[in-house]
């Protein structure tokens, strides 16, 4: 295939995907026309810093170069999907402005799609943009803090707060959020509510969400959400459409499971930030044909990585499981670890999720399973409930993916997982698992620079894992 032939030549590959992104913008521009582009830029103030100064090493080519060709293609393909998402949301928003709905990152969009709404994942921009320009968040973090919001709150919701206060987003007609994954994220929507004065629905996920009665309570919450959306938007839930959406999601999930199976092989076909980007397609577009197409492409490329390239990187010496989110402001960390130490991150907390299959045989069962998939969303399934949820999956992944080290990304703003640090170290020590805990801030290099992260990783790889630079 054309894509695969390009994958043999990485610089060309990077240029190909950059070109695809430009083409997506051009497609959007043509459909929107000059007035639409003007509106788009006016409503999306966050786009303006895109062309501004940013780190030289923050570029797509750095996520592609140095990796085996198919792995490079996986990273680039995932990023291209994200660009597609952004343009498509705003294209749809122009088409159906009255049906625009904001949602939080732990609420995947199946219900919105089935009701013909235009969902916009609020955290998508604060997640994606610092990967491209690490200084993107600083202005918005400062806006939030200068408006009196706390310096220690996670910088992801804080960036979203700053963006809202700075009118950087197109305003919502209504907002759907939840109590996941953390207090900071949950509380940030109180600011949004005050700012926009629009209806807000909050899904209330119980602490012990895996229990039967908790699942039943959450199902009732989902039903209340549907009724609320019907009232706010004057639309009806189309259960036939929901069935189609859920079946599309199941296809996507099937590809995902196959991908994870391949990921267990050594050498692994892929990893690092490419895994995380790829799986962002669940909150962004699960239940859509484009989301399924992405996972299908990733699976095909992963097969190619194993069968033709002999794995994602040239010399796989270490396999890591990453817990907590990767630094959004330093995605190149993974490429660097691969090249410097032969260490590939084979699975991570944002990627791994359980209980995602939806039985579509009837409405009741379908809604029940949909509620369950939402309650087992990535990160939330580990930050809610007792610490066994956090540790059991982690050690399962360590065994199941044949890892030889665990990386704990000790994000400054994550009070939830920070409170498990002592237990974490002791439990790893008892199991003789090498554990790297590195300090950083998810979205702000002013707390910890990329160089600071490199130094922490280098010390560990040299002193504990016996690597020599």
């Amino acid at each position: 295939m054309f894509l695969d032939s390009l994958a043999d030549r990485l610089p060309v590959l990077a240029a190909y995907y950059a070109g695809k992104n430009a083409a997506q913008f051009a497609d959007f521009a043509v459909s929107a026309g000059p007035r639409g582009i003007y509106e788009f830029l006016t409503l999306n103030k966050w786009l303006r810093p895109w062309g501004g100064p940013h780190r030289e090493d923050s570029d797509m080519k750095n996520l592609v170069l140095g990796r085996n060709p198919a792995y490079g293609a996986i990273a680039a393909r995932s990023l291209t999907y994200i660009a597609y998402y952004v343009f498509n949301v705003f294209k749809e928003m122009r088409r159906k402005p009255d049906l625009f709905v904001w949602h939080e990152d732990l609420i995947s969009p199946e219900i919105f799609h089935a009701m013909g709404l235009v969902p916009f994942l609020v955290e998508a921009i604060p997640i994606i943009m610092p990967n491209i320009n690490s200084e993107f968040t600083e202005h918005y973090i400062d806006v939030a803090e200068n408006s009196g919001y706390p310096g220690d709150t996670c910088t992801l919701p804080k960036t979203a707060i700053g963006m809202a206060l700075d009118d950087a987003f197109p305003p919502p007609k209504a907002i759907v959020t939840s109590n996941s994954p953390c207090d900071g994220g949950m509380a940030s929507y109180a600011v949004m509510e005050e700012k926009y004065k629009v209806p807000v629905f909050r899904l209330d996920l119980p602490y012990n969400f895996g229990e039967k009665r908790a699942q039943e309570y959450y199902l009732r919450e989902i039903k209340r959400l549907i009724a609320w959306l019907e009232e706010v938007y004057s639309v009806k839930m189309d259960y036939d459409r929901l069935k189609e959406v859920c079946e599309e999601r199941n296809k996507m999930w099937t590809y995902t499971m196959d991908l994870w199976d391949l990921q267990r092989s050594s050498p692994a076909p892929m990893g690092g930030e490419a895994m995380v980007y790829g799986h962002l397609s669940f909150p962004l577009g699960s239940g859509t044909k484009e989301g399924t197409r992405l996972m299908k492409d990733l699976l095909r490329l992963a097969h190619r990585s194993v069968e033709r390239d002999g794995g994602g990187i040239k010399d796989e010496r270490h396999r890591a499981v990453l817990w907590n989110p990767p630094p959004l402001v330093f995605p190149e960390m993974f490429v660097w670890m691969e090249q410097e130490f032969g260490a590939i991150t084979v699975m991570d907390m944002l990627t791994f999720r359980r209980n995602q299959w939806i039985d579509t045989s009837n409405e009741d069962v379908m809604l029940r399973d949909l509620a369950r998939t939402l309650s087992y969303g990535p990160m939330a399934q580990h930050t809610r409930g007792p610490c066994e949820n956090f540790f059991d999956d982690l050690f399962y992944l360590y065994e199941s993916f044949s890892a030889d080290m665990i990386i704990m990304a000790a994000h400054k703003g994550c009070k939830n997982t920070g409170a498990l640090m002592g237990m974490f170290k002791e439990l790893c020590r008892r199991r003789s698992i090498p554990l790297l805990v590195f300090e950083y801030d998810l979205s702000d290099t002013r707390y910890m620079s990329p160089e600071g992260i490199r130094r922490q990783v280098s010390d560990f790889m040299e002193n504990i894992m016996g690597e020599r630079r």
């Binding site: 220690d152 953390c182 600011v191 909050r202 209330d204 602490y207 009665r213 920070g418 409170a419 237990m423």
Partner: protein, 379 residues
């Protein structure tokens, strides 16, 4: 400055706060009762009382360092959880026989994990408090209380009959009634007691059995009626915010002339005084009262109502200004506090936000800021 010549309120109950343990708990324990530490204002102490247990609101204000706790918790966890864990680990709280948590915030949820991991007490229970207040949420919390009841019975062998719960609800309501009478003495032209004294009473209530506290409060009320009110204050303040159980904090404000007349924080009297319906099925009555009480910002959709109730309290207690005291690293309170600041300003209510640590520190700065606040109000 408050008039130092005002006779201090002299009653032993006000000294319960001096130590972690107290004579009432020691006496109850020597009589075979167990003391159960609870961590949040959403734990219905009535249920513990009905089980023949002594409910004790966990506190550890005198810690000067949290070295051991810091090896388990993170540097960005709130100092309340770090202080309490430290005191559990260094045996300062060794009179506590079990724990009841609420899944109220990230810090407390993880403190529960750490206590289970490090201490392994006979009773270590977490109540799954919903974030909403609709009927379904009340049903859910009612079930949670049934589960807690079963766990207490199984773990500690204390049987809890419905009649015991009804009796405990009546007892605790009686305590609330006496407390409300004392609160009335804070709303008048010349309040009969200082905020520091009220806070001492509240810590006493949260550290002793209800029947003990009722008798003590009745005595205190009689004394207050006869008492010359404190004079010389410049402004009346209402305090709101997160967990606080050290009267020295309020004393530092009052030394600057700000008489604290209303306390709408976790351990304050305003939310405590809300009654439980005695005619409803007892566990559901408890669930209703606790889920729908003056809420913590961790509850959803409560901002508007919470603001309304606090603004009403400002009028009722005739406060000149509000001090919001969120604890550092508490996301919910710190974000909520700023929303409150904005609303108060819109409504021309004077407000001061004072982020603080759990243990009293930076007293000089605290005094200066309160003094400046009072002057800013033109008092």
């Amino acid at each position: 400055m408050l008039n130092r010549k005002t006779e201090p309120l002299d009653h032993p109950f006000l000294n319960v706060v001096s130590g972690l343990n107290n004579e009432y708990i020691s006496s109850a324990r020597s009589g075979g009762k167990k003391a159960i530490g609870f961590f949040c204002s959403y734990v219905p102490r009535e249920l513990l009382d009905a089980a023949g247990l002594v409910p004790y609101r966990m506190r550890a204000p005198n810690n000067t360092g949290t070295d051991v706790a810091d090896t388990y918790l993170g540097q960005f966890n709130c100092s309340y959880t770090r202080c309490v864990l430290e005191s559990i680990l260094d045996d300062s709280l060794d009179f506590i026989d079990g724990y009841v948590f609420v899944a109220s915030c990230d810090h407390l949820r993880r403190l529960y994990d750490n206590v289970r991991y490090l201490v392994k007490p006979d009773l270590c229970h977490i109540l799954d408090l919903p974030h909403k207040t609709h009927d379904d949420a009340v049903d859910w919390y009612t079930e949670e209380l049934h589960i807690l009841r079963d766990n207490i019975e199984q773990s500690l062998g204390n049987k809890i009959r419905d009649d015991d719960i009804v009796g405990s609800i009546k007892r605790t309501n009686e305590l609330r009634t006496v407390l409300s009478k004392i609160q009335e003495l804070r709303k008048i032209d010349e309040p009969k007691l200082t905020g520091e004294e009220m806070h001492r009473i509240m810590v006493g209530i949260n550290s002793t059995p209800a029947d003990v506290a009722i008798e003590q409060l009745k005595e205190i009320y009689e004394k207050l009626e006869e008492r010359d009110p404190p004079r010389g204050y410049r402004a009346r303040l209402l305090i709101m915010g997160s967990q606080m159980d050290d009267p020295a904090y309020i004393a530092a404000m009052e030394e600057m002339g700000g008489l604290v007349v209303g306390d709408a924080f976790c351990e304050g009297s305003i939310q405590f005084a809300e009654m439980v319906d005695e005619d409803e099925e007892p566990l559901r009555a408890l669930a209703t009262r606790y889920v729908r009480k003056l809420s913590c910002p961790r509850m959803f959709e409560g901002f508007k109502e919470r603001y309304g109730r606090i603004a009403d309290a400002v009028s009722e207690y005739r406060a000149d200004g509000v001090v919001i005291e969120p604890m550092k690293f508490c996301d919910t309170w710190n974000i909520d506090a700023q929303l409150f600041v904005n609303r108060f300003r819109d409504d021309h209510i004077e407000v001061l936000k004072l982020e603080r640590e759990y243990m009293l520190s930076g007293v000089g700065q605290l005094r200066t800021r309160v003094q400046a606040f009072i002057e800013m109000m033109g008092k």
